[in-house]
C-alpha cells in the first residue's frame, strides 16, 4: 500500500517534570509512526504507558519533548490543527447544556447555518441511539450515553482525523460491538483517518486496519499488526478464525508488558 501519509510521528518523546520535585517522568517514546490517510489505526498497551499522552500530542494539546508531529504535512508543535476531532477518555459533556446543545457546540462556534446544524445534530442523535434525549441534561443520562454524546459532538464536525481515547470504555460488551459497527460505517462514509485507543484487544482486532502494540511506560511501539480486513466489515468478523489469531497475537505481545507495568506499580507503591 502506498497511501498518502496523514499523520507522522518522528522520534516523538514526552517527559513530564513534577511540580514539587526535580525528577522527570519519561511518559512516552521515542515513537516513529505514520498513519495513512483514511486508515483505521488502533493502539493497545498497558495502563499508564502513554497512550493518552500520544493522542494529546497528535491533537496539539501538548508539545513533544523530543521529535516532531506532523499532520497533513505541517508540523503541529502544540498548535491545535484544524480538521481534527477528539473524544477524550473522561466524560467531557457540558453539564449545563442539553444533549442537543452539547452536540451542537462546535457547529455553533463554526457559525454554520441553523438548518444544516439541526440536520447534522438530529442525524448524530439518531445514529448514536440518543433519540428522545435531545432536550435532556447530561446528568439524566448513563455514563455510556454521555460518552456517546461526546462522540456525536466530535463527529458532527466532520473531522478529517478522528482521535478516540477509549470511547467505549463505559459501555457493555453488546453495545460496544454495535457502536463498533456504527463507527466502521461512519469511517467508511466519511473517509476520515481514525486513531483509536482501546484496552479491549477484541475491539482493536475487529475494528482496525492496523494495530499498534505499546510497551509499558515509557511507551514504545513493540509491534504493528496488519489485520488485512476488507473495508466492508462489521462485528460479524469475530466468527472469522483470523480474528482469534489476531487477538491471540496481541495478547502474546502484551502479556509480558502488562505484567511489567503491574509490577512497576506494585514496586513503586
Amino acid at each position: 500500500m502506498t497511501a498518502e501519509v496523514h499523520v507522522a510521528l518522528r522520534g516523538v518523546g514526552k517527559s513530564f517534570s513534577r511540580a514539587e520535585s526535580s525528577d522527570v517522568v519519561h511518559a512516552l517514546g521515542p515513537i516513529d509512526l505514520e498513519l495513512r490517510k483514511g486508515e483505521f489505526f488502533a493502539v493497545v498497551g498497558p495502563s499508564g504507558c502513554g497512550k493518552s499522552t500520544m493522542l494529546e500530542l497528535i491533537a496539539g494539546l501538548t508539545s513533544a519533548t523530543s521529535g516532531s508531529v506532523e499532520f497533513e504535512g505541517a508540523s503541529i508543535a502544540g498548535r491545535i490543527p484544524d480538521g481534527v476531532g477528539v473524544v477524550f477518555q473522561e466524560d467531557a459533556c457540558f453539564p449545563w447544556m442539553t444533549i442537543r446543545d452539547n452536540i451542537d457546540f462546535g457547529l455553533k462556534r463554526a457559525k454554520l447555518d441553523a438548518v444544516e446544524r439541526r440536520d447534522r445534530v438530529d442525524r448524530a442523535i439518531a445514529m448514536m441511539g440518543l433519540s428522545g434525549f435531545a432536550e435532556s441534561y447530561p446528568a439524566q443520562l448513563s455514563g455510556g450515553m454521555r460518552q456517546r454524546v461526546c462522540i456525536a459532538r466530535t463527529l458532527v464536525m466532520k473531522p478529517r482525523l478522528i482521535l478516540l481515547d477509549e470511547p467505549f470504555g463505559a459501555l457493555d460488551q453488546q453495545t460496544r460491538l454495535l457502536m463498533g459497527d456504527e463507527l466502521l460505517k461512519l469511517w467508511r462514509l466519511s473517509g476520515a483517518t481514525v486513531f483509536l485507543i482501546t484496552h479491549a484487544l477484541d475491539e482493536a482486532a475487529m475494528l482496525a486496519d492496523r494495530i499498534g502494540v505499546m510497551s509499558a511506560r515509557p511507551g514504545r511501539l513493540l509491534d504493528v499488526i496488519e489485520t488485512g480486513w476488507p473495508k466492508e466489515r462489521d462485528s460479524r468478523i469475530v466468527e472469522d478464525p483470523r480474528f482469534g489469531e489476531i487477538t491471540a497475537r496481541l495478547w502474546r505481545s502484551l502479556r509480558e508488558e502488562s505484567m511489567k507495568s503491574m509490577g512497576a506499580a506494585g514496586a513503586s507503591s
Binding site: 466524560d91 467531557a92 453539564p95
Partner: protein
Amino acid sequence: MTRAGLWRIALVTGFAGAIEVLCLTGTIDKITMQAPHRMLVDLAKMIASGSMNAAIAKTLTNAVLAFLPAIAVGILTAVALFPFKRVRNVLDPLFATYYAIPVFAFYPLLIVMLGLGDAPQILLGFMLAVVAVIINTLNGLDRVPRVLIKTARVNRMGPLATAFGVMLPSAAPYVLTGVKLAVAYSLIGIIGAEFIMSRGGMGYEISFAYNNFDNAIMYPLILLILVVSIGVNTLLGLWEKRLMLRKSGR
C-alpha cells in the same frame, strides 16, 4: 413542603409566639421591645404612610450600587487572576484573611476622602462584597474539570471564549455562592455605615429612632431589613435550585 421546611416554620413561629407572650405578660417591658404583632401593624402603617420610603429607597439603591459592581469586578478579577499561579500564591492567603479585617474601621477614612455623601457607604458595601465573589469564583474555576478545558482548546477557543463559554458556566454553582454572600455583605456594609454616620437610609433611621426611644419606628425597620435580605436570598436560592436541578438531572 418538606418535613424540614415545616419544622423550620414551626420554629420561627414558636419563637415569635414566645416573644409575643413574654411582651403581653409584661416580662419584657414596652420600652425594651414591642410585641411582634405591634411591629407588624407599625410596619404596615409605615409602608402605607410612605414616611420611610425615601430611607428605604436610599438604602436599597446603594446596596444595589455596591453589589452589582462587586459581582462584576469580583468575577472579572477572578478570571484574570486564575491563570497566574505565582500571583495567586501571593494573593490567596490575603483573600483568606480579608474577612478578619474590620473594614468598618476604614469608614472614617473613607468619609474624609469622599465626603459624607453616599459614596463612602457604597464603597464600604462594595469592599465587603467583592472579595467573597473573588474567593468563590476562584474556588469554582479551580474545580473545572481539565477535560472541559481541553474540549474548549480542541474547538479552537481562545482564552476569553474559554473563560466565559466554558469555565464560568462550569463554575456557576460556586460563583452563585459568592453572589449570595455579596448580596448579604453589601447590605451589611451599607446599613452598618448608615448606622455609624450618615444623613439618611434605613440604618440611619434605626439609629435615630433608637436614640429617641422610638420603638414604633425602630422595630418595624429592623423587621423590614430582615424581610428584604431573607427575600433576596430566597429568590437567589430558588434560582440556584433550578440550576442545580438541571445539573443533577431531576
